[in-house]
Symmetry: C2
Subunit: 331 residues, 2 copies
Amino acid sequence: MKVVITGGAGFLGTALAQALLESRTLRGSDGRPQQISQLTLVDIAPPRLASDPLVRTLVGSITDAKMVEQALEPDTDAIFHLAAVVSGQAEADFDLGMRANFDATRLLLERARHSGRNPRFVLASSVAVFGGALPAVVEDDTAATPQSSYGTQKVLCELLMSDYSRKGFVDGRALRMPTICIRPGAPNKAASSFASGIIREPLVGQTAVCPVSRDTLMWVMSPKCAIRNLLHGQSLDPQVLGKVRVINMPGLSISVGEMVEALERFAGASTSSLIRWEPDPAVVRIVNSWPGRFDTPRASKLGFKADANFADIIRAYVDEAGVHATSLPTV
Amino acid sequence: MKVVITGGAGFLGTALAQALLESRTLRGSDGRPQQISQLTLVDIAPPRLASDPLVRTLVGSITDAKMVEQALEPDTDAIFHLAAVVSGQAEADFDLGMRANFDATRLLLERARHSGRNPRFVLASSVAVFGGALPAVVEDDTAATPQSSYGTQKVLCELLMSDYSRKGFVDGRALRMPTICIRPGAPNKAASSFASGIIREPLVGQTAVCPVSRDTLMWVMSPKCAIRNLLHGQSLDPQVLGKVRVINMPGLSISVGEMVEALERFAGASTSSLIRWEPDPAVVRIVNSWPGRFDTPRASKLGFKADANFADIIRAYVDEAGVHATSLPTV
């Protein structure tokens, strides 16, 4: 079974590839685990897992039809489409966002369609598809009225993938991911980048800027939980999914203030005091357009999972990232 | 003020052009009526109103960027985008539907954007954006989950137009039109074509095939009411519309059986008996995926109108089309 991950050099793509290389199997269209014969990682940056013999790496942009053709060989059975231009960047450069987030997805869907194999196509979508005048709690059937170009582009992809699935061109499933935190590494241009930064940086004694207010409500998911849900999304039988191929993911509803309180309980006030509160109107506008609370009965019924609490997310991050902060309590 | 109608040779496009040529004015961005200096009708078929000095006709496809460039001169202030490949055809030929319904709209939006004038862009959308597991009554905030490629392509256009509006590229408004009936002329490839045919053909003594069952509930609007609403949609101030640029149109909820009963009351049983009931699964599937009942408080508040009853729609059609059916009652 040939598997492709776009954005395979990214944080989530790398973690997903690691998980696949550990299990060496993935659910086939017959519902049974199959051996992975090839794992293609395509990204504009060089993927980091090139040493495994299963791994094929391709460095280039999926906005290029030739790269898409190379990436999706005709016998590809599963595609995890994670590559995207992030929210802040798609807002600043509309044309880049359309090209990288929408046109590239269309190229991938077209290529998958013409393989004639109806491959499973997992699209990483986002809570950014919601916006505007939202109910206090977003339901499974709440209309997507995005208030950002990133969110718009994600809904366009969801709708196109849904029609491709209805026509039998691909076997698609779009997972609307919460804000993933705590991400390791450096800040990026996502409007939600701070949600990782305000925990990650103070834990190693560095200051971090929080561009939104304490009462900003976020819908979050840990990286580990995200990988589990992406794999689970791929494994689901198309009959179980039915006509609606877009699924709001479960998550944790937490305010930025509560995130910082959890950090303080974990690592002390000297750590949480490293956060500088400097509102950034551009970030505030985008982040405030996203919902902070969902009810996700469909995802629960389908077997998707949420994190139990934010303290566990911090603990897991520290364990996995090998953080040795000076102020960490001796647990 | 320069005005463009795509699909300007079509039935609605011609009627809209006629209305504009009568009034000679249209609401400008300052909210005041302005003289129309040029009315461009672009269509793949030759427009029928070429004799008026205000009219400029262009014959060609808006899937062609050069034609779009010609059609939308940089000083265009209002665009009525009515051109589309209809539902039955978009379902039969996916690629044609994507090209004509989505890519062409994107070309128009891009051209309008780069004029730098933020022109008013009226998109004729459709109730076909709805489908799947719908509530008994579709509300203003019901999510669009189309079950046809035509419906999918219309939602893609709505979302793109909304983001273009949010970014200040165009001043867009998408009107989700009910099934327009009674259309004059010949049947077309729209899945809803029968809704006109089962009235129009019997009125002139011809048989008509009804491919759906009597209890099929439709959401309908007369051509006259549709033109009024398209013009009203163009006239609305952007501040009144706010962030949500997509509006469910009001309409008349009526079953196909009730439509035929109205025909029988109007023209007698010898007329309504000219309908042959021959279910067509392909048409049934598409038409049954559309909702037949809406609640449209937002449209009402914004001043959009619905027809009073179906008898009036028949009477208006007979008056305007100059039908002289043998069996018509002497009113």
